[in-house]
Symmetry: C2
Subunit: 177 residues, 2 copies
DNA sequence: GCATTTCCTTAAGGCGCCTAACAATCAATG
DNA sequence: CATTGATTGTTAGGCGCCTTAAGGAAATGC
């Protein structure tokens, strides 16, 4: 959220006041949050140009991945990492915009089958090529080796967080501290 | 937002359908967004344990940085990267919780001076050491060299985005595509 | 003195997320 | 078969953070 990040020298100075402050860790942490936020903002702007919200785009991608097998709201919610109530809201919006369709499941009358409408398919066909261009442009400052390096570093961080979560509690809340 | 990321092989497959899809770029992009999101979630959970919201924490950090020079809502909004209306809301919450105080400026009667209350200072003193511990724990999977590497890679990405924004328009909207 | 700018705030709204409660339905059990 | 317990999707209410638009008050420039 911070517009400008503190310089490394400032972190060194602050480390004298706060013994637990690890300058290199804090610097990397702030850059990670900041860059993630900026990149997310660029992606959101791109999607906004096509009148798509982040939530809707996620659903669009999930449905586009396997057109033949319509999903259920529950499955979509699991894959998207939101509650089912949230997914209901996302689907409401997409349905109102004519992008997805809800249909009953013959086998199980509790469940709803969600699928892309022709308009939804057309939207994906139209937006995705440009989307991937946008992604490529964002990542263009890095060559292939650097991208692999970045992925490796990020994976290490994520691995540490997931193992930490499983260590502390067996219930394993999605995000623990 | 996606819970699980597509494997690199899947990206290679999708690249055949979408010519603009650059597998290494997309992989790095998704990992960046995902890791940023997870780390942000861990930070938010930590703050929630102390009844602090992200917005409030940002203000707390900004005010704690230079206790002697009270800030104005406008300066805080600029540094936090939000509108002044948003900052008014954040300050309302913090003031209600007794963390900050608004006082008039003798020099300029339009201006409001914002400063931490003793309770706000105490909150910072109490939370910041643990916060930096949390940050250090998140970054613990990386050694110092890897952290520097990560910062370098992230800076390259950010630099590319900021130069791109200044290239396209002279009006320079905060986030361009 | 008057116009412009700057300050902060209010008002209204959007989006995304959550929890809690609910009716409908399925599955398993006695 | 009938009851119990799970599961599905939805609604209702709420929170956090963000925006734009409008407005009063005060400073500044001409």
């Amino acid at each position: 959220m911070l517009r400008e990040l503190p310089r490394y020298e400032c972190l060194l100075g602050a480390a004298e006041e706060y013994p637990t402050l690890d300058p290199s860790a804090t610097e990397a942490f702030l850059h990670l949050l900041r860059t993630g936020d900026v990149v997310f903002g660029v992606e959101s702007s791109f999607l906004a140009q096509h009148n798509i919200r982040q939530g809707g785009f996620t659903v669009l991608m999930l449905l586009n991945r396997c057109c033949e097998t319509p999903s259920t709201p529950a499955a979509l919610a699991d894959h998207a990492g939101v509650t089912r109530a949230t997914m209901t809201g996302l689907l409401d919006t997409l349905e109102k915009d004519g992008i997805i369709r809800r249909s009953p499941d013959a086998q199980d009358r509790r469940t709803v089958l969600v699928s892309l409408t022709p308009a939804g398919v057309a939207l994906a066909e139209r937006v995705l090529p440009k989307y991937f261009e946008c992604v490529a442009r964002i990542m263009s400052p890095l060559n292939k080796t650097e991208r692999k390096q970045l992925v490796g570093l990020l994976q290490k961080i994520q691995l540490g967080l997931s193992s930490e979560a499983s260590e502390s509690t067996s219930k394993a809340p999605p995000v623990g501290v």
